[in-house]
């Protein structure tokens, strides 16, 4: 992985408001990303240049940032409070995503994995990189979505 390079390239191609934001230090590949995301306000999340979906212990969507909302074409209102893997994104309900969260929960282990994936954002197949984050006992678990440059 080349985290710094990826996010830099991405920021450059993105709208200028993103690169000027106070959270520009936060990037998709940061090592301590889970703790940093937990500290972010909703506004902070909305300034990020990658998608953030936070789910609780039951898999219900609790946070949904603006980047992800635009990419998927769904407003947060349609998504917040809904179970992610059955109602919002059944395409992630498989061994690659949902199963990994389940396994980490069952084993009480930390999950931090990045995988290549294809999402069908607005019905178009889009190659993305997913990062799955879960820490035992934490309120939020995260699915992060980075679109390629």
């Amino acid at each position: 992985m080349a985290p710094a390079a990826d996010s830099t390239v991405y920021s450059d191609t993105c709208e200028s408001t993103f690169s000027m934001s106070t959270t520009q230090a936060l990037s998709f590949a940061d090592v301590e990303l889970q703790a940093e995301l937990d500290r972010c306000s909703d506004d902070d999340l909305d300034k990020l240049d990658f998608g953030v979906i936070a789910i609780d212990a039951d898999g219900v969507v609790r946070r949904y940032n603006s980047f992800e909302s635009k990419a998927a074409g769904l407003s947060p209102l349609r998504v917040l409070g809904q179970p992610l893997f059955t109602v919002v994104a059944p395409c992630m309900n498989n061994f690659m995503v949902a199963q990994r969260f389940d396994d980490a929960l069952a084993q009480g282990s930390t999950l931090d994995t990045s995988i290549d994936y294809v999402l069908t954002l607005r019905m178009r197949p889009v190659k993305v990189r997913l990062r799955l984050l879960a820490v035992p006992g934490a309120a939020s678990r995260y699915v992060l979505v980075q679109r390629p440059a």
């Binding site: 998927a72 074409g73 769904l74 407003s75 349609r78 109602v87 919002v88 994104a89 059944p90 395409c91 498989n94 061994f95 690659m96 199963q99 290549d116 294809v118 999402l119 069908t120 607005r122 019905m123 178009r124 197949p125 190659k127």
Partner: protein, 444 residues
């Protein structure tokens, strides 16, 4: 786009996101233009390059000829393939078992293809299991020579026919389909009500089994068991959805053994007729049926006249010969479905399902005249005897088997007091025997 439009657009997007069937649009060269999440999820594990840009590439491993099919398709639009079953090998690394996908591809116009993809693993599995059990049943049906297996409709008529039916009963398709299953019984062994009773009993207890004489198409008989079991759910009310399976088994070779056992338990040792116990069992069953669906049911009680005098004058051996002679006369007179029993001493009872008192009295009259018209030859002695018969019919005032027999008994004593060698019917007001005898004595 105004707010309402974007709201609608969003709802539409979400509808496609969560649609439980895979939908896809591609260019004629297979390049994917639009794909919903489920379709992507089904295609991704198949895709060898891990991407999802081309439908033909993604399906290369399971439908290699799809590209060719699309190219060869001549019309401007139409179905390229419909519900193709694609077999996907198990993928242990990804915890996926063997799967079967159904693929339909539609050519929309010269530029676009539409594909529908679904996971049909479970329904295919179910179909296969169904076919397997069908094959299994066919094997049984064709492999065993002494079974006939067929389906009955809700009224007990044969719905189908197969070779096993012909083998066991000699009946061809035309002589079977649409016929009530009583055609497998001797002519007078099972009437319409009796046939329905067995269906009802199968509904209630899960099956109904009876063993006895069955009849082949050529009129010959064999000893067979008939098992009826419902095929429908217990609460099924639609007549067309109610059906039964009937298994007829030729158990002729077993007959000797079972008959011996049955006789020892249910038959009177002297006459071979049903004994008291078998009579009461049969009566209880018939009364249950009557209570569920009242229909004509009669009971006839026969008593040999002056039997004590025959015993005293000719000896007990002759008395026994008379009883056997009378038993044979009863068997010859009544139908196979009637229950002919020796109640005890010189008293006999016949239960006649489906017969009202008129019909029962007519048969009883025939018996009476037949017996009176015969003479027996007992060790060179010519001997004649007569019988008195009482007839009673089942109705709502009859509490049970005992009460029904008592009515017939009262009628039989009325026949005795009226001069013997005759038939009397029960009627309200008939007094118990002792009173009747006293009245006769007083009159004499």
């Amino acid at each position: 786009m105004d707010a309402a439009e974007s709201e609608e657009y969003e709802a539409l997007i979400q509808f496609l996101y969560i649609a439980p069937i895979g939908l896809l649009q591609a260019r004629m060269d297979g390049e994917i233009l639009m794909v919903n999440p489920l379709c992507a999820q089904l295609l991704m594990p198949l895709s060898r390059d891990g991407g999802l840009s081309n439908l033909f590439t993604a399906l290369e491993g399971v439908a290699p000829d799809l590209r060719g099919r699309v190219q060869a398709f001549e019309g401007t639009h139409g179905m390229v393939c419909e519900s193709w079953q694609l077999r996907v090998a198990a993928d242990p690394a990804h915890r996926q078992g063997r799967r079967i996908l159904a693929l339909t591809v539609l050519k929309l116009d010269e530029q676009r293809l539409m594909a529908v993809l679904g996971d049909v693993t479970q329904s295919v599995q179910r179909e296969r299991e169904l076919r397997q059990s069908q094959a299994w049943i066919n094997t049984i049906v064709t492999g065993l020579t002494d079974y006939a297996l067929l389906t009955l409709d809700d009224r007990g008529s044969a719905r189908d026919w197969n070779a096993s039916v012909e083998r066991v009963t000699g009946r061809d398709s035309a002589a079977t389909v649409g016929q009530p299953y009583s055609v497998f019984y001797p002519a007078d062994a099972l009437d319409a009500n009796g046939a329905l009773d067995r269906l009802y009993e199968a509904d209630r207890s899960g099956w109904s089994l009876d063993e006895g004489w069955r009849q082949r198409a050529d009129g010959s008989r064999f000893w067979g068991s008939c098992l009826i079991a419902p095929l429908h759910a217990a609460d099924e009310v639609q007549p067309e959805d109610r059906a039964y399976s009937l298994v007829i088994r030729d158990v002729s070779e077993r007959r000797e053994a079972t008959e011996a056992l049955r006789r020892s338990v249910a038959c009177d040792h002297l006459t071979g007729l049903a004994n008291r116990r078998a009579l009461f069992e049969a009566c209880e069953l018939e009364l249950q049926r009557w209570r569920r669906a009242p229909r004509p049911l009669s009971l006839v009680l026969i008593d040999a006249d002056h039997f004590k005098r025959i015993n005293d004058n000719f000896g007990h051996a002759t008395g026994d010969a008379v009883l056997r002679h009378l038993a044979a006369g009863l068997s010859a007179t009544f139908r196979a479905m009637d229950v002919v029993a020796r109640l005890g001493g010189e008293e006999f009872v016949v239960l006649l399902p489906g017969c009202d008192m008129d019909a029962a009295s007519a048969v009883a009259q025939r018996l009476c005249e037949s017996i009176a018209g015969q003479t027996m030859d007992v060790d060179g002695t010519r001997l004649g005897y007569t019988v008195s018969v009482g007839v009673a019919g089942m109705d709502a005032d009859v509490a049970g088997v005992d009460a029904l027999i008592e009515r017939a008994d009262l009628a039989m004593y009325a026949a005795k007091t009226a001069g013997r060698n005759r038939v009397a019917r029960w009627q309200p007001g008939l007094r118990p025997a002792a009173v009747g005898v006293a009245a006769v004595a007083a009159a004499a």
